[in-house]
Amino acid sequence: MIRARLFRYALAAWTVLVYVFMLAPVVVIVLLAFNGAPGGNFPISNLTFDWFGKVLTDKTLLASLRTSFILAAAASSIATVVGVAAAYALARYRIRGQTVSELVLTLPLLIPHLVMGVALLLSFRLFGLSKNFGLLVMGHVVIVLPFVVLTTRHQLQSVPAVLEEAAWTLGANRLQTMREIVLPLALPAILTGMLFAFMASFDEVTATLFWRPPGTETVQTQIMALLQFEVDQRIDALGALLVVFSVVVPFAALLVARLLSNRQANKT
């Protein structure tokens, strides 16, 4: 009994250490973003918000933020439309080649971004296409598509088919049924899938380095470029902003998804 207790304490202590390991370096970045000391390292002194101001007035950084947002918004929107349609087909119908289709739709998850980057770049060249923003967007669509399919499929499956049949019997056509019955019920899952897709696109670095047209920088490729040189705390401030963004957005989205599904639960 005492040994079991001790084991439990040891396990808890180990877990705390592991979590500290996972989170502490990020905390360090956030702290350094407020460091006013020249040289930009420890010990931290002269707490300041200046670095955030410098990031938010830096034209190059702002441009890269804008590019990242446009890219992620475009890629996740296309992936959501295309992916939800495919997920609906997978959830509702028994079709020949179902397993193969499923495998194909999740294939991009099993291929390293490095290989996808090289393969798509070389095939642009083979077909005589030059790099452009549209191709970058489509590359990102492929990378994030599996996230949409996998997160929405399960939820679409749980919308009872009887509801759809009832709508048809009452005279609704397929499109109306889709709009009035299926999409509202699956909306939380669709939004979650879209959010995953957005974040995955926003964080992508490796393949983007291969695909971006000359002169186009996303936040991530911009950080890669900045890290080649000695940089001041602007990079910590930028990192801190990204940390806050990637923590706040999913929480907010989870909250919205929960509210939406609660409202539906109240309705039915």
């Binding site: 996972m22 087909a89 390293p112 490095l114 964080d203």
Partner: protein, 299 residues
């Protein structure tokens, strides 16, 4: 109604056959055009050669492939990369099993806290997490400042830009993924079976080894596979935390394609890593079933 009969009912309707195909077509077409065709092109490119003046000769030749055998550099980088992938995966299992086990056996409230704290690092950008080691281990970093301050060392230690930091950065990146997968495996184990083993006289350790561990194995092995694949293709970690002499496969391919502009060789190197991955997935599929991997990704 079961899903099967629902599906059958829908299929009986007149548009039942054409519709699902039409719904899937855009997604399948995008993947075909942007993944499968490029992979075929990759194969084709690897059998072409590049002349010293930079032009690519589009005739079948094994010259590029021969360099894989004759140039020992490629082999040594490949070996280093496999060692990196293997060792980081093992470290993640050893470090991560405990926290995953605690999560699975904790009271619901604590489990919620631990899960959210686990999701936090995996939400934060991989690049930001990787670069966060720079101010920790740098010349004027946290560790060196502490060591100097405590009088343990007189000169700052050169901690960054070596193999160690690459391993550290990679483990730091992979650990949440590993813990989550092990946890998902453990969560599927029916506690009554473990209780039955205990009633039948097994002590805690025996029950774990004979019941819990084998039943939770699919989660662990899915975690290992994902971590292994991710580390084989890693580029960002060695690029930021590595230094001279720490070339891993991703950096080799990146340099070959984007700096030397030697596309046939870059294609050949990418084909090599794909073939090795397919072999790995095949072996894994034979033993564990690929569906376990997809289940892990879904969560």
């Amino acid at each position: 109604m079961t899903n099967a009969s629902q599906a059958a009912a829908l299929q009986a309707s007149p548009t039942g056959r054409a519709l699902p195909l039409a719904l899937m077509a855009p997604a399948l077409a995008i993947i075909a055009f942007y993944v499968i065709v490029p992979l075929v092109c990759l194969g084709a490119y690897s059998f072409w050669t590049m002349l010293p003046d930079g032009t690519v000769v589009r005739d079948f030749s094994l010259e590029t492939w021969q360099s894989l055998v004759t140039d020992p550099f490629y082999g040594s980088v490949l070996l280093d990369t496999f060692r990196l992938a293997f060792v980081s995966t093992v470290i993640c299992v050893v470090v991560g099993y405990g926290p995953a086990y605690l999560m699975a056996s904790a009271a619901p409230r604590w489990r919620g806290v631990l899960t959210i704290l686990l999701f936090l690092p995996s939400w934060i950008s991989y690049l930001v997490r990787t670069m966060s080691w720079l101010p920790v281990l740098g010349k004027n970093g946290l560790v060196n400042t502490a060591l100097l301050g405590a009088g343990v060392v007189e000169q700052p230690l050169p901690l960054l830009y070596n193999h160690f930091t690459v391993y550290l950065g990679l483990v730091h990146y992979l650990l949440p993924i590993m813990i989550l997968n092990i946890y998902l495996g453990l969560a599927t184990v029916d506690p009554t079976i473990v209780a039955a083993a205990r009633t039948l006289g097994a002590n805690a350790r025996q029950a774990f080894l004979a019941v819990t561990f084998p039943l939770a194995l699919p989660g662990l092995s899915a975690g290992c596979l994902l971590c292994f694949i991710l580390s084989l293709g890693t580029f960002v970690t060695p690029q930021i935390l590595g230094g001279p002499g720490t070339t891993y496969y991703g950096n080799l391919v990146y340099d070959t394609i984007l700096h030397q502009l030697d596309w046939p060789t870059g294609a050949m190197l990418s084909v090599v890593i794909m073939v090795l991955l397919i072999a790995l997935l095949y072996v894994y599929g034979r033993f564990m079933g690929l569906s376990t991997v997809l289940r892990a990704i879904k969560s």
